[in-house]
């Protein structure tokens, strides 16, 4: 019974999170009431177009951007209520990998020092111990520790830099990693290597991942469940296979339809004239997707759709879900 209860508690529970930015005298509604859970050992993919708030959500989870309201429960503890030392301690268990691997490494520092830095911040005083841990993670991500430790970031390609970033994120043995577009700056042939590496590391270190990306196929490749975001709100969340096979939210449908398929027999569907996303400074009333949605009616502008279960485990926030 006890074990059941432990398993049922998600490692990450984001509850009605609201994040806003000030822009002059205007307000950017970046994340407007998002709730989601990530179970221990799960990968949750988070997709959406630029400006939908997916990166802001990732940063708000780590408290790099403080929320206006709502809670972020990690392993049962509310990160939004934490400050100072308590938050720093908690951050050792939660790491972040960024999109641009070259920009996220200090160009003047040697790889060995870059990867050891989190250990120093965490107070690992024993230099031999640090060296040992750095050696282990560099080897784990497929780099030769003796060869790379003394070198500088500019001596490495984008793919190798991303390996170094992954090593740095693993060195403190975290439980949870937010991956923010970790492969979108990489070439196709390198992208596959890094996606495989992330999967390997996840299995080996028992990680839980929040995987943020704009590419649906990339997200599907690594995610157990996928959440789709549009203009600060969650449209749909569900098991990857199910969501991709039977999207319920028209926006998920549009995204799937818009992906160019590398098969000449698949004639690209003439894109539905759907315009562009409105500004998050003045998001539409009701359903935020309604201005581009072929199914929208009066109810969609009057009433914000709640996430409802449309199939087992699959939730969509839509008044007129796809059949």
């Amino acid at each position: 019974m006890m074990q059941m209860a432990v398993r049922d508690v998600p490692l990450l529970n984001v509850d009605d999170l609201v994040v806003e930015y000030g822009l002059g005298n205007k307000t950017v509604h970046a994340v407007s009431g998002v709730s989601l859970q990530v179970a221990r050992g799960e990968t949750l993919g988070l997709v959406g177009e630029s400006g939908c708030g997916k990166s802001t959500l990732g940063r708000a989870v780590l408290q790099l951007r403080r929320a206006k309201s709502g809670r972020v429960l990690f392993d049962g503890e509310d990160l939004t209520a934490m400050e100072g030392e308590a938050l720093r301690k908690m951050r050792r268990r939660v790491q972040l990998i960024f999109q641009d691997p070259i920009a996220s490494l200090n160009p003047r520092r040697r790889i060995g020092d870059i990867v050891a830095e989190p250990l120093i911040i965490a107070g690992v005083k024993d230099a031999a111990e640090r060296k040992h841990r750095v050696h282990d993670v560099l080897a784990a991500v497929g780099l030769d520790p003796d060869l790379v430790s003394g070198r500088l970031p500019h001596e490495f390609s984008g793919g190798q830099c991303q390996r170094i970033c992954i090593a740095r994120s693993l060195v403190l043995n975290p439980e949870f990693i937010v991956c923010d577009e970790p492969v979108s700056a990489l070439d196709v042939s390198i992208r596959a290597q890094i996606l495989n590496l992330l999967e390997e590391m996840k299995a080996r270190f028992g990680l839980t991942l929040l995987f943020i990306a704009h590419d649906l196929a990339v997200v599907k490749a690594v995610s157990d469940r996928v959440a789709v975001m549009y203009l600060g709100r969650l449209c749909e969340v569900g098991p990857s296979e199910q969501l991709f096979a039977k999207p319920a939210h028209p926006y998920t449908g549009l995204l799937l339809q818009a992906i160019p398929v590398p098969d000449p027999d698949v004639r690209p569907a003439e894109s539905v004239a759907t315009g562009e996303p409105p500004s998050p400074i003045a998001p539409p009333s009701g359903c935020r997707f309604r201005t581009r949605c072929p199914r929208a009616d009066q109810r969609c502008s009057a009433e914000i759709p709640e996430l409802r279960e449309v199939a087992p485990g699959q939730f969509a926030a839509c008044h007129h879900p796809l059949a």
């Binding site: 177009e49 630029s50 390609s157 793919g159 070439d187 196709v188 042939s189 390198i190 992208r191 596959a192 290597q193 996606l195 495989n196 999967e199 704009h214 590419d215 649906l216 196929a217 990339v218 599907k220 490749a221 690594v222 995610s223 157990d224 990857s240 296979e241 991709f244 549009l254 995204l255 799937l256 339809q257 818009a258 992906i259 160019p260 398929v261 590398p262 098969d263 000449p264 027999d265 698949v266 004639r267 690209p268 003439e270 894109s271 004239a273 759907t274 562009e276 996303p277």
Partner: protein, 328 residues
């Protein structure tokens, strides 16, 4: 006669580490009204090749070979004639619409400047044509847009404006260099559709340069795959995807995550990375990463040539046999 013929074009760039061979003896041709896709990863030379066609290479670059466009060799053309040609018969759309538009000039000024430079139209006629063009590329309220600046438009709108400028003088050839890479996926589909529609309507030849095989699959008549400065396979689009011969093409297609694949399926990644372009390999550039490579591949460079089909060229000593349908 093809509209564009690229003959034995090579581009070398001097670097502190020695000469970098960005484009290595490329031959390509394109008929009016047709679309050629050039696909490859970063550093494969696809952009340098397009710059060679446009004669927009860096000053230090050394170009050899011929670029025959509409009967004239662009390589030997004087700068004044080139300037007349570019923007009129030869247009380009770049990846980043923010940097290709001038931030301090209104959209109207930029459109009308191009139109009046190349066509003999007065201000009123140029303005009317600008409005017409903006409407054609799907910009709502085009008259109001003329007075706006690029920063007042979204990325997708800016790319539409860049396309409107490129189309303004009815070019014979449009080069689109990663036209949708900076855009979101729903906007990407709209822009690709727009390009295809305008191309058909104007019977224009088009070169789409991209790293994404998905972008060219349904939209190019012919595809050239580049690797380490060379074209390694070139074929009509269906043949390239269905009966590819070059192991690099196969590996590139396999490495793309597919929507149909179940989650957590390991991707067939290509090991290693492209060779250092300042240290050319003696043999096939892909050999160190190729699972079919034999001793000969490391010793000699395979020529790009046709075998079974006259229009299907590949550069490989151990091509993938055609007996079975590969891919997908």
């Amino acid at each position: 006669m093809p509209l564009l013929t690229i003959e034995d074009v090579a581009v070398e760039l001097p670097t502190p580490r020695g000469n970098l061979r960005a484009v290595d003896r490329v031959d390509l041709s394109l008929e009016a009204g047709r679309t050629l896709g050039i696909v490859g990863e970063s550093g494969c030379g696809k952009t340098m090749l397009s710059r060679a066609v446009l004669q927009l290479l860096p000053k230090k670059a050394k170009l050899t070979g011929r670029v025959m466009f509409d009967g004239v060799d662009l390589v030997r053309l004087d700068s004044e004639r080139l300037r007349q040609l570019r923007g009129r018969d030869l247009a380009v759309v770049f990846q980043d619409p923010m940097t290709s538009l001038n931030p301090v000039l209104t959209i109207g000024t930029q459109l009308m400047e191009t139109i009046q430079e190349h066509l003999e139209l007065d201000v009123a006629a140029a303005r009317a044509r600008s409005i017409e063009l903006l409407a054609a590329v799907g910009i709502p309220a085009p008259e109001q847009r003329l007075a706006q600046y690029p920063h007042q438009c979204s990325g997708g709108m800016r790319q539409r404006i860049a396309i409107a400028i490129a189309l303004s003088c009815e070019p014979k050839l449009l080069i689109a260099d990663e036209p949708t890479t900076a855009l979101d996926v729903t906007i990407q589909a709209q822009i690709l559709d727009l390009l295809a529609r305008e191309q058909r309507r104007r019977h224009m030849a088009m070169i789409i340069i991209t790293h994404d095989l998905g972008v060219v699959a349904g939209r190019a008549d012919e595809v050239a795959v580049m690797y380490a400065g060379r074209v390694v396979e070139r074929a009509p689009t269906p043949a390239l995807f269905k009966r590819m011969h070059m192991p690099y093409t196969e590996a590139l297609l396999a490495a793309i995550p597919k929507l149909e694949t179940a989650p957590h399926t390991p991707l067939p990644a290509i090991s290693g990375r492209p060779p250092d372009p300042t240290r050319p390999l003696k043999g096939c550039s892909f050999a160190p990463r190729c699972r079919y490579a034999g001793a000969r591949c490391h010793e000699a460079k395979p020529e790009l040539k046709a075998a079974e089909m006259p229009d299907h060229l590949y550069a490989c000593f151990h091509p993938i046999p055609v007996t079975e349908e590969v891919g997908a």
